[in-house]
């Protein structure tokens, strides 16, 4: 097993008196696909927000690529090589598909404000280059033909893909996907699995994902951690998770409550 790219070390997150994450630790090995599963409200998105710097953990630390990034501001976390998607798709609604992806290149464009205002050579150089690169990413996702379409006018499945494409444009080492298959039909889910595998290969990515669709998790993930009420109740292969009595109890509990 290769070294851990991301380590969540004894993280506790409290909101007022409520403990959303309780002393959670896990390691995501470089190059793996790692799943976070658990009933609603188990704290999965909270831990994502801890990793991306949107919430500072009450206790514990986040180690990425050998560096303690706890408390780093969200936009700086992106620069370190962590990109994310959102549970409810959040595309830039006034922009085309291509423009959405171009935003992802923000940190990689090094012309300054005056070079932009006076259209100096570096402006043209960068703009030309990132447009080619962005189209390359869109082609990979089979979205090139929609480049100039309004992003939010696309089908649900394609919007999910644009969001991942946009995250990919930031050149991450670690990609955080928050319920990527939610709301997709089986064919779209299958398509998404293939794309994630392909980009993982092409871009040397490590993927950490939250998902409810156990079939998807089974097919994608090498390892899963199961959370319940902010605590880790299982870590191991997805196939073993489904038969683990504690996991089953947590999900059944969830059903009876719901």
């Amino acid at each position: 097993m290769s070294a851990a790219l991301l380590e969540v070390r004894n993280v506790t997150m409290k909101f007022g008196g409520v403990t959303a994450i309780d002393n959670l630790s896990f390691k995501v090995p470089e190059g793996s696909t790692y799943g976070l599963i658990g009933p609603n409200g188990a704290g999965k998105t909270t831990i994502f927000n801890n990793i991306t710097g949107n919430y500072i953990p009450t206790e514990g630390s986040i180690i990425f690529d050998g560096e303690d990034i706890t408390g780093t501001r969200p936009n700086k976390v992106v620069a370190k090589g962590i990109a994310r998607t959102f549970q409810n798709i959040r595309l830039f609604k006034s922009m085309s598909v291509l423009q959405n992806v171009l935003i992802g290149f923000h940190d990689q464009i090094h012309y300054n404000y005056f070079e932009a205002i006076f259209r100096l050579p570096r402006y043209h150089g960068y703009e030309r280059r990132i447009k080619v690169e962005a189209m390359g990413i869109l082609e990979e996702f089979g979205l090139a033909e929609y480049a100039d379409n309004e992003a939010t006018a696309l089908s649900y499945g394609n919007q999910r893909k644009v969001e991942i494409a946009r995250a990919l444009a930031t050149k991450p080492k670690l990609l955080l996907l928050d319920e990527p298959a939610a709301g997709m039909n089986p064919i779209e889910t299958e398509d998404l699995s293939n794309i994630i595998r392909k980009i993982k290969e092409d871009y040397d990515l490590t993927v950490l994902l939250i998902e409810h669709d156990m079939k998807f998790v089974n097919a994608m993930c090498d390892t899963v951690t199961v959370l319940d009420y902010g605590e880790k109740i299982f870590e191991g292969r997805p196939a073993d998770a489904i038969v683990d009595p504690k996991v089953v109890a947590a999900y059944l509990g969830d059903f009876t409550h719901a």
Partner: protein, 342 residues
């Protein structure tokens, strides 16, 4: 390459027309054009923070006032200042402020930019709509300062005999320059980031954008050109007083950018002409009218009632204004495309 040449030719052509107009048109027409030119500069820059970046701000009157005062103080000769300052003697620094026209205008812009930087820290570090209330308050405060620092501003009497260097050649060219700068910003990584902040701040952050920095850059840029516009206004009007820079100015600009379509620079330009034109045309509303054989009497403010209703109706029923947040060429392209599809 082809585009660059076309752009160059368009710029030269516009400059040619401006210079021709400046020499041939009568002074009344030119004064209307000058007014439109100054308002175009203000509307374009206001649109950057409000329309493109989506941060609701009410700053123009404050920054225009700063630009106007700073530019005026640089332009008025020292001897005239000593004569003019009736309440107290002018402060030594006021007497030392001397510059030629363009540097004076530039100084007005820089002064407004610095104030914008100062205001950015309290308003952009927190979430919420504090920008609007702080800038609204600032517009009032600047008046209080102008009234209470007579050694710098000559108090309520204001500054007059400001050298009238701002002809249409200057105003028109600077308006064109503002338009080009704004469009270049919009079509750069900065403009994209500003729009991203407007559309979804969290998602923008998740793309690595420092939203505080981007908002501050947009706000300072707006302030700079509003300061420049203020300087031009001072030199165009030759007299300025604290009461001149009231909220009315900001309101007119708000109407303009909403009508043009928040975020559309070319829209702001077209709307400037429309709104400034109809302000002239609707002047009769404020005057005595005969309705059903009865005199209504003068009622200043009637036009503003009409414009306020117009603004509310636009927000309720036509939020996109003329061009939405597209620029004119894109707008035409999209319309044509739709026609093709039908």
């Amino acid at each position: 390459m082809k585009n660059a040449i076309i752009k160059m030719l368009l710029i030269l052509l516009t400059l040619g027309i401006i210079s021709w107009a400046n020499q041939t048109l009568d002074s009344y027409t030119l004064s209307i054009l000058n007014n439109i030119g100054i308002f175009a500069i203000l509307a374009l820059s206001y649109n950057l923070i409000n329309g493109v970046t989506g941060q609701f701000s009410l700053e123009p009157n404050g920054f225009v006032a700063i630009g106007a005062y700073v530019t005026a103080l640089f332009l008025i000769p020292a001897a005239d200042k000593i004569d003019m300052f009736a309440l107290v003697d002018p402060a030594p620094i006021v007497l030392e402020m001397q510059a030629r026209f363009l540097p004076a205008i530039f100084a007005g812009g820089v002064a407004a930019t610095l104030v914008a930087l100062f205001l950015s820290f309290p308003v952009f570090r927190v979430r919420g709509d504090y920008l609007a209330i702080v800038t609204l308050g600032f517009g009032f405060i600047i008046r209080i300062f102008a009234l209470n620092t007579p050694a710098y501003t000559n108090g309520a009497m204001g500054l007059n005999d400001i050298p009238a260097n701002a002809n249409f050649l200057w105003i028109g060219s600077l308006a064109l320059f503002t338009l080009i700068v704004m469009l270049h910003i919009v079509y750069s990584k900065y403009g994209r980031a500003m729009k991203a902040v407007r559309d979804d701040e969290d998602a923008a952050t998740a793309m690595g954008i420092n939203t505080f920095k981007i908002k501050t850059v947009a706000f300072m840029t707006s302030a700079f050109f509003e300061g420049v516009g203020g300087g031009l206004l001072a030199s165009f009007l030759t007299t300025i007083t604290p009461d001149q820079f009231s909220f009315l100015l900001t309101f007119q600009l708000l109407i303009i950018i909403v009508l043009g379509g928040l975020g559309s620079m070319t829209g702001a330009l077209v709307a400037t002409v429309l709104v400034m034109g109809s302000m002239e045309w609707l002047r009769f509303l404020d005057e005595d009218m005969v309705l059903f054989g009865m005199h209504t009497g003068e009622h200043p403010g009637m036009r503003m009632v009409v414009f306020a209703i117009l603004l509310i109706i636009m927000m309720l029923f036509a939020r996109k204004g003329l061009f939405g947040d597209r620029e004119l060429p894109e707008f035409i392209k999209a319309k044509l495309k739709r026609k093709d599809e039908v």
